[in-house]
Amino acid sequence: MVRSNVVEVRVVAAYKLTLKAARYTRWGELLPLEGVRIPVRDAIYFSLIKECYTPCEVVITANVPVRLIAPKKHLGYVFVEWSDGERSNDRVITMNRNIELEARYAPG
């Protein structure tokens, strides 16, 4: 058999972060909100991982803490909470599993 050269490939564990946004209507319904800018940054070095515009997905190395800053206001809507109940628009999460988060807004 003839063998080729050997190339080393480094494979790192990673998880998917899915970011969405939605707005409450006056009747309490949630409707999707597209185009909300939520930058995804490394929580330690604050370097930008991805400039997200909802809806968006980003793959992040496992166990990396990331900082998400949802805008406090967006086109006449104000930030209320994240879909998991967190009420601060500026938060840090650790990628130890696939995560889906939705930033929720109400009419301002």
Binding site: V2, R3, S4, V6, E8, V11, V12, A13, A14, N63
Partner: protein, 131 residues
């Protein structure tokens, strides 16, 4: 007066001509295999996330160009000794170099943060003619 001797002419039929036997057909010539001179692999990425696809390009070089037929060569791609891809490279007449792309997906085992794989390709020593 003496009679002149009578010449007896006998006409004999010539024996039928036997057509010469056609020479037996020569057996078809077996085309020789062509030796693989060199094999080279390159990857589109060397740092990937678990489950991310990466493209591997395998280039095979033959010792000489095929002139009478196409030649075929099976190719196998390995990561740390485990086969992760296989295919076939076909050399058209006049070409002693051909490449083939493979889409590979590598995973990080559960519980591990990262792993490094050694990826390489293998082929038989000879390419065979396609009859």
């Amino acid at each position: 007066m003496a009679e002149s001797p009578v010449k007896k002419i006998v006409i004999e039929e010539a024996p039928p001509e036997v057509p010469p036997e056609a020479p037996p057909e020569a057996p078809p010539r077996k085309l020789p295999d062509i030796r693989v001179e060199r094999l080279y692999i390159s990857l589109s990425k060397t740092y990937v996330y678990s489950g991310e696809a990466v493209r591997a390009t395998v280039t095979a070089y033959l010792e000489k160009k095929p002139f009478e037929a196409k030649y075929s060569l099976p190719v196998y791609v390995y990561a740390d000794g485990s086969k992760i891809g296989e295919g076939k490279i076909v050399f058209p007449i006049g070409s002693d170099r051909q490449k083939k792309d493979f889409k590979l997906t590598l995973y990080c085992p559960p519980g591990r943060h990262e792993i490094t794989y050694k990826v390489y390709a293998e082929t038989p020593d000879y390419a065979k003619p396609v009859v």
